[in-house]
């Protein structure tokens, strides 16, 4: 009896030790894995955040600190003056309003019209649908530069389908065309007809979302006597919030950041992206406000300008961030 007990106890003790060892190994390997993951993520996050940190650090120091080799990130002399200078140099409030005008209205229009087109492509069968959807993808693939000059001529001599020429013949219109460059129309009209910046991509996103939407709900609405458009408004739109949030944010960001089409179609309108693009040259050129000043001393003001430029987007992103990340996961882009 005693012997067997001893053997058993020895056996179980041995077993216990072994499992213990395994457990520890497991814990340690998991810990190392987590450590590695967090190190990698922190490192990459640093790469992303570094320019921002750097800009902020330079923007809040006195120009004298630029010459101080002891100062790398934390300034010796803290100041808001750079922000004030950049604010007045960029005429920030006025230009920000311009930017919002140029980016918000087209975004809102695009949000709606692309949804309509996306729904049409997702749910209905009609002749030439495949070809038309191919053309949607084509508009996304063709670089905007391919047609930018001729789009400009389209806006400069705006005559949609020769309607204005016809009206001129009848005598209603004074000329064959209207010049809509330098008016907000050159941004609003394409967005109104789902042809704004990267509209093709947004139609694609909507189509993927609506395709994944359960058909039964729409059928129920039809049975209850809703028309197709009513069904779209009452059933699909309220349930498509993720897709709408995704498209809204991306579209707004792309319009806001656009520095190619705005100077082309609206040369008189100053927006943040283009003025920031030219800010450094404008500051230093002969006759500029900072002409002749050592370039190093101008950097803090320029960096402050960059911060001012990013700030509205950053605030919006932080407000929407959780919704945005959730939305993209649920927007069914991956369908």
């Amino acid at each position: 009896m005693n012997i067997t007990k001893a053997i058993v106890s020895q056996f179980t003790a041995h077993k216990g030790k072994k499992t213990d060892k395994r457990l520890w190994l497991n814990i340690i390997s998991k810990f190392i894995g987590k450590l590695a993951v967090s190190l990698i993520l922190i490192g990459l996050a640093y790469v992303i955040l570094y320019p921002l940190i750097f800009c902020i650090s330079q923007a809040i120091r006195l120009p004298a600190d630029m010459y101080d080799p002891r100062v790398i990130y934390i300034p010796q002399h803290f100041t808001w003056q750079n922000f004030k200078d950049a604010w007045s140099f960029l005429e920030y409030p006025r230009i920000l309003m311009n930017t919002i005008n140029v980016s918000l209205w087209p975004t809102l229009l695009q949000l709606c019209t692309c949804a309509l087109a996306g729904y049409g492509f997702a749910r209905f069968k009609f002749k030439g649908k495949g070809l038309m959807f191919g053309l949607v993808i084509l508009t996304f693939i063709v670089p905007p530069q391919t047609i930018s000059v001729t789009t400009y001529t389209t806006f400069r001599y705006f005559d949609p389908f020769y309607i204005f020429s016809g009206l001129n013949l009848v005598g209603i219109m004074p000329a064959d065309y209207i010049d809509i460059t330098d008016t907000l129309w050159s941004f609003i009209l394409p967005a109104l007809f789902a042809s704004g910046i990267k509209s093709g991509l947004f139609i694609f996103v909507y189509r993927q979302f609506f395709r994944g939407f359960p058909k039964e709900l729409e059928e129920a609405a039809y049975i209850d006597g809703c028309g197709s458009f009513e069904t779209f408004l009452k059933i699909l739109v309220p349930n498509a919030v993720p897709a709408f949030v995704t498209v809204f944010l991306l579209s707004l960001v792309w319009y806001y950041n656009d520095y190619y089409t705005v100077p082309l179609f609206l040369p008189q309108t100053e927006v943040l992206s283009s003025s920031l693009n030219d800010m450094f040259t404008n500051m230093t050129t002969v006759g500029g406000l900072y002409a002749g000043v050592d370039e190093v001393l101008i950097y803090p003001i320029w960096r402050a300008g960059i911060i001012l430029y990013i700030l509205p987007l950053l605030i919006m992103f932080l407000l929407f961030q959780r919704k945005f990340t959730e939305s993209i996961a649920r927007s069914g882009i991956v369908g």
Binding site: V37, L41, L44, A45, V47, F54, Q58, M66, V71, T113, C114, L116, A117, G120, R123, F124, F126, I141, P143, Q145, T146, I147, V149, T150, T153, T154, F161, L189, P190, F193, S195, S199, E219, Y222, I223, G225, G227, S228, L249, L250, N257, D258, Y259, S273, N277, F280, E295, V296, Y299, I310, L313, F317, L318, Q321, R322, T325, I328, A329, I333, V334
Partner: protein
């Protein structure tokens, strides 16, 4: 004809409800008909009756296909006005001498613009540099964004913050800010010694450190080339990370549970479950990355086009260059499609 169809489009509900629930039709019909009457009185009264008959004969499918067409009509108009006509004009430009006065005029010039660009050494050089960048960047961005997406899909403390940070490039990324971020390094020759603060990315120190460690110049140069690229890759892969993350989240956890029961390792799980599930998104991401790189106004070819347009006003040549460029892009994307089509795994639905 257009009006006839229009009247039908106003109340497809009737048709649908007739098809699906005859009981309810009576309740709805009076209002609808009234609404329709009002509409039709505004237009042509006499033709209304004949159209009514027409409408009744229209089948449910035809109605649906018509409604679908109406949904896409705004896009179609926009496409014709703001894409198709400009594209035709642009092709016309590329085939002719463009003269600008009050208006503009084009004159056929026997493919002169096209033969010009192939004589142009700068274009070929710019083209090869753009393609070189592309060939290196696309695979790196793909692998990197998939890697980061897999990491961000794990559960860990501070995941929300980490995701916010990695999505930041999507919000901020733009040529303007990028040149502002990088711009200082162009003028790095201006600074020496203690004023290096103006430079954001100073690889000078890294070269010194690596050199003092006794590494050869070649290895040092290689490492610095990589570290320079990391910044671009991280900042260019925001959208790709998002798309991969969305794909990863749509994978059913049941698959992984089954794997756990069978005793699969993490490595096997990745290659047998994760990778096939996200493979359709790989194609989307490749196309997106290619398009993004190609249509970036700051790349070599498009800068050249921009210069042609804004400084020498040579619209014909610029248009020809862009069309050749686009044709090459199209061929590349087509090739990617053909290759990927075989490799992609589509789930049953």
């Amino acid at each position: 004809m257009a009006e006839a169809v229009n009247n039908d489009a106003l109340n497809p509900a009737e048709e649908n409800s007739e098809a699906n629930a005859p009981k309810k039709v009576k309740k709805i019909k009076p209002e609808k008909v009234k609404a329709k009457k009002e509409k039709s009185t505004k237009k042509s009264e006499p033709s209304d009756n004949s159209k009514k008959k027409n409408r009744k004969r229209m089948s449910y499918e035809r109605k649906q296909s018509f409604v679908g067409f109406m949904f896409t009509l705004p896009w179609l108009i926009g496409f014709l006005m703001f894409f198709f006509i400009p594209a035709i004009k642009s092709i016309n430009f590329s085939l002719s001498d463009v003269k600008i006065f009050e208006d503009y005029a084009t004159e056929w010039n026997n493919f002169q613009n096209y033969s010009n660009i192939f004589k142009d050494a700068t274009f070929l050089r710019n083209l090869s540099s753009t393609f070189g960048d592309l060939a290196i960047n696309v695979p790196i961005i793909l692998v990197f964004s998939l890697f980061v997406a897999v990491l961000l899909n794990r559960k860990f403390i501070g995941r929300g913050i980490a995701r916010a940070v990695f999505f930041l490039p999507v919000i901020v990324t733009t040529g303007v800010v990028m040149t502002a971020f990088n711009g200082a390094s162009d003028t790095s020759a201006v600074f020496e010694g203690d004023v290096s603060n103006g430079i954001m990315f100073s690889t000078m120190n890294a070269t010194e450190v690596l050199g003092s460690l006794g590494l050869g110049e070649q290895i040092t140069g290689y490492m610095i080339a990589i570290s320079d690229r990391i910044f671009d890759v991280v900042w260019d892969s925001g959208i790709q990370i998002i798309l991969f993350l969305a794909a990863l989240q749509s994978i059913s956890p049941a698959l992984y549970e089954a794997c756990d029961v069978e005793g699969a390792t993490a490595w096997e799980k990745f290659w047998l479950i994760t990778f096939p599930s996200v493979s359709p998104i790989i194609l989307v991401n490749i196309v997106y990355t290619i398009v993004d790189t190609f249509s970036d106004p700051s790349n070599a070819v498009l800068s050249q086009v921009d210069a042609l347009v804004t400084t020498t006003f040579n619209y014909g040549n610029a248009a020809a260059i862009v069309w050749v460029y686009f044709a090459i892009v199209l061929v590349i994307i087509g090739a990617v499609f053909l290759v990927c089509k075989r490799l992609i795994f589509y789930s049953v639905d």
